[in-house]
């Protein structure tokens, strides 16, 4: 049986897909905002690679 464009399942699926898409966009935005906040509040930006470098050595205190 051919499916018409107006089949109920199409509308159910498109609604569901829109919501999932919106959630994914919100997730990306949230992670982006979180990254900006973490970086601007002075969090460590470089991973430790077992070699000493100036940024890992605490300044003269």
């Amino acid at each position: 049986m051919p499916l018409s464009r107006e089949h109920d399942l199409h509308s159910a699926r498109s609604g569901r897909n829109l919501v999932v898409g919106a959630c994914l966009c919100a997730f990306v935005l949230l992670v982006f905002a979180l990254t900006l906040v973490k970086l601007s509040s002075g969090h460590q930006m470089e991973a430790f690679d077992h070699s000493v470098r100036p940024s890992l050595v605490k300044g003269d205190q």
């Binding site: 049986m1 499916l3 089949h7 399942l9 159910a12 699926r13 609604g15 569901r16 829109l18 919501v19 999932v20 949230l30 992670v31 905002a33 979180l34 900006l36 906040v37 509040s41």
Partner: protein
């Protein structure tokens, strides 16, 4: 003849079904108590970090709800209250729900660790494990104390909220934990008193199903009394304040009075169609909301009042 789409997996799953999978009512309670835990903490959280943490806590709560629905699909189909859930209705397969729950569990824990701190993520992992494995898989169908021990999962969100802000545990969040832990049994036993036949049909050994209504009513009164010192301690502690104290006095009085009425009205419950039990169930929701809302307001007012009066 069915089309290819109708026999395809999850073709009928609509937006509302997808939302129902996350148990939005439970999730709202989790988010609310976690938010109050965060607000009551002495360290201020950046709004974006706080929002992200709440979103990932909500995601974890939703994921555990999905895993609960996956495991309980067989008994959900026998109960009036749950038979319209997406899995018993055949709108999503149990296997897909399990996958979805597991992926979202992992995602929520990892993201909370990155957004807040590892301790908060560990507590979220413990919450989900406790709800899904200890309560849903192990205790729910085996012990009349299912809701007592399982209640620990629902009691952890304010602790997670506090740890998101401070990075460590303290007495105050543990008192919040104790409050919700003691509140959970009377809340669910009131529900099971008027949903008795549902639980009996599904074979869930709720206290009233196994030991009778009278026992459940006395247990409700016992837990309502046990709540009094905990909520007063919370109100008089660092996280509390005058509003919390007022709320504790009013709500505990109403709660204990409601529990006494439940004990007295046992014989007339069927005749009154469980009016008191339904009222007590609604009262329990109000109790938790008012107590935690008062704590949040007290915490928000503290910086303004600290110079005016000793708190």
């Amino acid at each position: 003849m069915k089309s290819a789409l109708t026999v395809g997996a999850n073709a009928d799953l609509g937006v509302l079904d997808l939302l129902a999978m996350f148990k939005p009512r439970v999730m709202s309670l989790v988010v609310f108590t976690a938010m109050v835990g965060m607000i009551a903490a002495p360290v201020q959280v950046h709004p974006v970090v706080g929002l992200a943490a709440l979103a990932f806590i909500a995601l974890g709560a939703g994921a555990s709800g999905i895993l609960n629905m996956w495991w309980d699909a067989d008994i959900d189909s026998k109960m009036r209250r749950t038979r319209n859930r997406p899995i018993p209705c055949g709108k999503i397969s149990a296997a897909d729900a399990k996958l979805m729950g597991l992926w979202l569990t992992g995602l929520s824990i990892v993201m909370l660790a990155l957004a807040a701190n590892p301790l908060a993520a560990l507590l979220l992992a413990i919450t989900i494990f406790h709800y899904v494995v200890i309560y849903t898989i192990w205790l729910k169908r085996r012990s009349p104390q299912n809701i007592v021990i399982g209640g620990a999962a629902g009691a952890l969100p304010p602790v997670i909220g506090w740890v998101v802000a401070t990075g460590q545990l303290a007495v105050e969040p543990l008192l919040m934990f104790a409050l919700i832990f003691l509140w959970t049994p009377p809340h669910f036993w009131a529900l099971s008193l008027y949903m008795n036949d549902d639980y009996e049909r599904a074979g869930i050994p709720m206290l009233n199903v196994v030991r009778g209504d009278a026992s459940a009513r006395w247990h409700i009164l016992g837990y309502a009394c046990a709540l009094v010192p905990v909520s007063l301690l919370l109100a008089l502690g660092e996280a509390g304040g005058p509003l919390t104290l007022g709320a504790a006095v009013v709500m505990n009085s109403a709660f204990v009075y409601g529990a006494v009425k439940l004990c007295r009205n046992g014989k007339s419950a069927v005749r009154t169609r469980y009016r008191e039990e339904r009222r007590f169930f609604r009262l329990s929701l109000t109790y938790l909301f008012v107590t935690f809302a008062a704590m949040a307001v007290d915490s928000m007012l503290r910086p303004f009042l600290s110079g005016v009066m000793p708190l």
